[in-house]
Assembly symmetry: C2
């Protein structure tokens, strides 16, 4: 095998350079989400956490939004301290001349993706950057300008072990997200700095955990879908064929000449129509189990499932028995680690959607989606007014059950959360 042969195999989709066999995923000309009209640019201030932070939903939620950084000691380390260091280096000076490197976009795309995998990204995809995926104005209502041609999308997963241990909305939930935010921010900042050093403009887009510190200029979900890293799922996030939603992503926008990836179709649209497990388990009942409707939130003309993002945001902020919430990711059958037996199911979902209900049943019957308290390694802790305490209703995780056999404790929590988000007393 020489370098040229290997490169052809990658280009022709006979070989993957990631840890996952992404070259086996079906590529399509159009994204599997129907776009029914013009997509308008939205303001960053119209996103859930910004709304909460700016007091649009009242002082209690505003206070909880501000407290969310301090609430759990590990989240504090991740978002309060480490999360803050990446923003200042997300953009910078461009080297004054172009480096003597090839200008073939195929070679440069392979190079940049290989760099991403070298830096331990779990998946890297490339798309053109549509202007509708750039926020119109920042939280100070100043216009955002980001007219780079391409977006490099970088996925970092969090480990399956802790996802398996967790209920999805206990004290570790927020820290899982932040592990991946910070890891993908590290990769994006390194990559952007490197590209600038080659003489091309490049900017990192990452989560800062603070509405007032610049992070993302771009909207992540459509870029993930356009870059062939996922399809739009029922709860509205991009679902990766080998990770489900068990990841966060950062982006590098740049003018380095690149070859965009094609979107993918691994059968998710039919699967989400059938499965509905996220809808049934959502503690705040934000996810609809009904069929497709037109969603008029921000993303304009996407044909997506109805999703109550206000309710979702409020639950995540007001969760008094944990830090944030990711139950939809936790219970999703797609979040599993690599295994050949899961590949059999993937093949079936792609080519025989009529078997989907069978796989969903089997998945439940095998106990996937349950919490595993025996794997729990973290402490339940909560910071309240300058004191660290054991949360009064610290869930022991034993209440977690599949919907078939709810314990009394679980029923009680569900009852609490399906009316209004629980307020702190």
């Amino acid at each position: 095998l020489n370098a040229a042969t290997r490169f052809s195999a990658i280009l022709e989709g006979r070989r993957s350079i990631s840890a996952y066999p992404e070259h086996k995923v079906r590529r399509v000309a159009q994204i599997t989400t129907e776009v029914t009209g013009a997509i308008e640019r939205i303001d960053a201030v119209k996103t859930g956490f910004a709304m909460a932070d700016f007091g649009a939903w009242g002082p209690v939620i505003e206070r909880e939004e501000e407290r969310s950084e301090l609430k759990y000691p590990l989240s504090y380390a991740q978002k309060g301290e480490v999360g803050a260091i990446f923003s200042p280096i997300r953009d910078g000076d461009v080297y004054p001349e172009l480096a003597p490197i090839p200008d073939d976009p195929r070679i440069l795309s392979n190079h940049i993706k290989s760099l991403g995998y070298f830096l331990k990204a779990d998946a890297v995809g490339i798309c053109e950057l549509p202007q509708w995926a750039v926020y119109a104005r920042d939280v100070e209502r100043d216009p955002i300008v980001c007219d780079h041609k391409y977006a490099i999308v970088i996925i970092s997963q969090w480990g399956y072990e802790t996802t398996k241990a967790s209920t999805g909305d206990d004290w570790i939930s927020d820290s899982e997200s932040w592990l991946s935010y910070n890891e993908s921010a590290h990769i994006a900042c390194t990559m952007a700095s490197y590209i600038r050093r080659l003489g091309y403009p490049a900017r990192g887009h990452l989560q800062t955990g603070n509405e007032h510190v610049p992070g993302y200029d771009v909207i992540l979900t459509p870029l993930l879908v356009l870059a062939g890293l996922g399809e739009l799922s029922r709860p509205g996030w991009a679902l990766h064929p080998y990770l489900g939603g068990r990841f966060k992503a950062s982006v590098v926008t740049t003018d380095l000449p690149l070859l965009p990836d094609k979107p993918i179709d691994f059968g998710l649209q039919a699967f989400c129509r059938t499965c509905k497990r996220c809808a049934r388990h959502c503690p705040s009942r934000s996810i609809s189990d009904a069929d497709h409707k037109i969603d008029d939130y921000g993303y304009g003309g996407y044909r997506s499932y109805e999703f109550d993002w206000e309710r979702c945001t409020k639950y995540r902020l007001m969760n008094q028995n944990g830090a944030y919430c990711g139950v939809c990711v936790k219970v999703c059958p797609w979040n599993k680690p690599k295994a050949w037996w899961h590949d059999i199911v993937r093949r079936s979902v792609r080519s025989a959607p009529r078997l989907d209900p069978l796989w969903v049943k089997l998945d439940e019957w095998l106990g996937y989606g349950k919490a595993h308290p025996e794997l729990k390694w973290w402490f339940d802790l909560e910071e309240v007014d300058g004191h660290m305490r054991i949360p009064p209703r610290s869930p022991d995780n034993a209440f977690w059950q599949t919907e078939g056999t709810p314990t009394d404790e679980w029923k009680k929590l569900r009852a609490d959360t399906t009316t209004e988000p629980r307020m702190r007393s």
Copy 2:
């Protein structure tokens, strides 16, 4: 399996929480490196790169030390931009009261190690912090005070694929180290911040890439050995039983009550006596192939192999055909990824050292240690006086051969490097 049973299994060494079966490595009461006398504290200014930076070896080496940050565009991103952001958060305010968590050091050690693995460390070990492993004075000759009781040592590997592709002293060499420096710095800073939030002092120790920016207060190699993460190898670095030297490490020192790990003995002392591959391949001939002597460098009374650290440092700085050097790590038979067939060899090395020469021969015969140019994904680039150029003697990597069949190109490079470090013309 419940939580208590699982915890007992971990404590009793019947189960590993890392990705490697570390519970199967033999634990011993004493480190396998003989300590023949009192170990004196050394000054940070007496380390190789500080000597170079302070001009102890003349203006050419001083200039190359300063240029090393700018030399290769990816290294620049990693150490010039990203590497600089961790130092300011390596220490900080301690939460004013202790968190309501158990004070059992066994539970806390398991918790902290689990946190390390959650944050994607490849190995985590704990030891008491001996004061001789703390630098006496920093580069400004001010005394360093670090009297925490424990050191948590965190290993991040770099990928095998690029190690396999590389010669070990080409343009990607420095970037491999920096991937692991930055990743382990991210983990150490997150962990230290979390521990401070629990009410205990904690400080991260990490590579900053700048002699004038505080990074490590502690000397890494002895801590890796004491924490049971490796044995001292022929070239003087700690060798991990499942990663060889294909990693970098960061440290968290703290007063959180912890249970130290025991040192390990996987048969390396006999193996290094036999193998000598690093010594034969070292382009600067810094590594001795002779038997043990007493080394009087810094680490005082360690019984280690003779090692010309000045020569090593100079070669790494003066390397005109690459960025730094890690040939000893590249050719080491211990750097391989996980596989059951390598486990067979590990078992043999541990229990039947007389077979070591056989394994070394087999390893060479199978072609391990060679470069694989077909896997090369990076560009050879060099920044010289404000211009980015293709290095004039850009190695095509084809020269890399096992010592048995040196090409003319390889012989020439060896000839260059075995007299004096090559100077830029």
